[in-house]
C-alpha cells in the first residue's frame, strides 16, 4: 500500500485531510491527499477532460463534463444526456444493455448514410423455408396458403421489375 502525499502547494496547509485523490498514470498510481476546500482539488475536478468528477460535500461521483449526467441517471433509467455520456459511462451502459438480451454488445448494423435497401425477394426465400417446414408438419391447407403468398409475391416482383 503506497502512501498518499500532499501536493507541494499544500505543504503549509494544516487543515484536516478529507479527500484522497488517485490518478492512474499508465501503470502507476499517484495518490494525493488534501483538505475539502483545497483549490488544487477544485482545479483538478474542473479540468478533467476525459472523465468527469463531480464533487459534493466530500463525495465525488462520475459525471459527464458536457451535460452533467451522473451514473445514477443510467441505473435509474433516467436517460443519457449527450453522445459524450457513451464514452464516460461505457461500462454502465454495457451492463445495462447486457440485461436486455443482446449477446453481442457492439454495433453490427448499418452506418449513417449507408443506403441499406432490402429487396422483397428476401421474403421469397423466407416463405419457401416456411413452406418446407409446413409441408414437413403435414399442414397441407396452410402450405397452400403459403404457396399462394409466394405466387402473389412473385407476381408483385415481376410487376415492380416492369
Amino acid at each position: 500500500m503506497f502512501e498518499a502525499e500532499k501536493p507541494l502547494d499544500c505543504t503549509n496547509c494544516h487543515k484536516a485531510v478529507e479527500v484522497y485523490y488517485t490518478v492512474i498514470e499508465g501503470s502507476r498510481l499517484v495518490r494525493s491527499k488534501m483538505c475539502a476546500a483545497c483549490p488544487l482539488l477544485q482545479k483538478k475536478l474542473r479540468c478533467e477532460e476525459h472523465i468527469g468528477l463531480r464533487y459534493e460535500g466530500g463525495n465525488t461521483e462520475l459525471s459527464c463534463p458536457n451535460c452533467g449526467t451522473v451514473a445514477e441517471d443510467i441505473v435509474t433509467r433516467k436517460g443519457l444526456g449527450c453522445s459524450k455520456c457513451y464514452q464516460i459511462f461505457d461500462d454502465k451502459i454495457i451492463e445495462l444493455i447486457s440485461t436486455s438480451g443482446s449477446c453481442l454488445l457492439e454495433h453490427v448494423g448499418r452506418k449513417p448514410e449507408e443506403r441499406l435497401l432490402f429487396s422483397p425477394a428476401l421474403r421469397l426465400v423466407q416463405l419457401n423455408e416456411i413452406l418446407e417446414e409446413t409441408l414437413d408438419n403435414e399442414n397441407f391447407e396452410q402450405a397452400a396458403w403459403i404457396r399462394d403468398q409466394i405466387i402473389k409475391l412473385k407476381a408483385s416482383l415481376i410487376n415492380d421489375g416492369d
Binding site: Y86, I93, I97, L105, H107, G109, R123, E141
Partner: protein, 353 residues
Amino acid sequence: MSNKLDTKSLERNLPEAVPFDNDIWLLSTLKFYRNFKRYSFPDKLSLEYRQQIIEILENLTLTSANIDNPRVIRARDLDVHQKGFIAEHYYWDEILQNAYRGEGFIIDKSLPFLGVINLHDHLNLQITEYEEELEKAWNKLVAIESEIGHSLEYAFSPRFGFMTANPEKCGTGFVGRLFLQLPALQHTGMLSKVLIENSCEYIATSSLGKKHDDYLGSIVILYNNVTIGVTEEEILSKLHRLATKMMVAEKAVRTSLVNQPNLAIENKVLRALGMLKYSKQISSSEAFDALGLIKLGLALKLISGKSCREINELMMISRKSHLHNLYGWDVSHEDLLVKRADLLSKRLGALDH
C-alpha cells in the same frame, strides 16, 4: 403560415385512416431513434436549441424529395387531445401528451409517416404500413433518414452505433412492430403455447392493453427488444418469419373450428355481437375485444353482413381520441361510453347470425 391546427384541420392534415382489408396482419410500424452529433440530447438541451432543431428540420423536410406533403407542427400549438389523437392515429408507443414547448411533429398527408422532434431523442421517424411489405417501408424510411443525415450529422459511434437517450435503443436505433390479430388462437387458449413454440431470439410480444399480455382485441404486437449486436436485416427477417408462423397457426386453428364447430367459441362470438348491437355504454377495451371476436365470427362464417375492412375501420375510430375528434373534445368520459355504444350499434346493425 400558421402552424396552429384546429381539431378537424388536424385530421384533414393527416393521411386518411387506411381502409385496410387485412384479416390477421393488421399493420406494421418501423421506427428510428436518432440524435444529432452537435447537440446534447433533448432533456439536457435549452429551449432555444430545441427550437433551433425544429426550425432546421422544418427547412429540411420542406425541401425533401422523400416526403410529399410535409408539415411541421409545434407541440405548443396542439392541445393534449390532439396530441393523443396523433399517438392513436400512428399507433405511437410513447406518451405524446407531455410534449410541449420544445417538441414538434412532422406529418405527411400522403404517407403514413410521423416524425417526432425532441421527445427524448432529437428525432424519431416512423412509417406505418398496411400491406405486409416491410422491405418497401424500410426502404422509404431509410431514404427519409439518410436525406436528413446528409445535412445534420447523426450521433454515431462504431461501438455503440446510433446513440440514443435510452441506451437500450442504441445500435441500430431501430424498432419494428407488427400487429397481428389472432382471435382463434387466443380464445381457444392456444396463444401462449404457440408463442412459446415459435419464440425466437430478440423478438418479444406486447399488447395494446396496459399489461404486455392483455392482448386487447386479440392483437399481439411482435417487436424486437434488442437493437444492438444485431443487424437491421436480421431484425426484419425474424419479425417477418415469426409473423408468418403465427398467421399459419391462426389459420390452422380457424380451419379446425370450421370443421369441428366449438360451442364455447360460438357462444363468445354471439355474446360479443349482442353486446355491440345492444349495449348502451361500452368502453374502448370492451369494444376492442368484442370486435376481435366479430372478426373471428366472420372468418368462421358464424355471422355475416360486414367485411373485414369495415370492422378494421371500426376498431380504429372507436378509440378514445378518434371518438373525441368525431363528437367533440369536451364530451365527458361517461358520454363517450354512450357515444361509442351508439356508434357501434348503428354501424353493426347489419350483422346477423
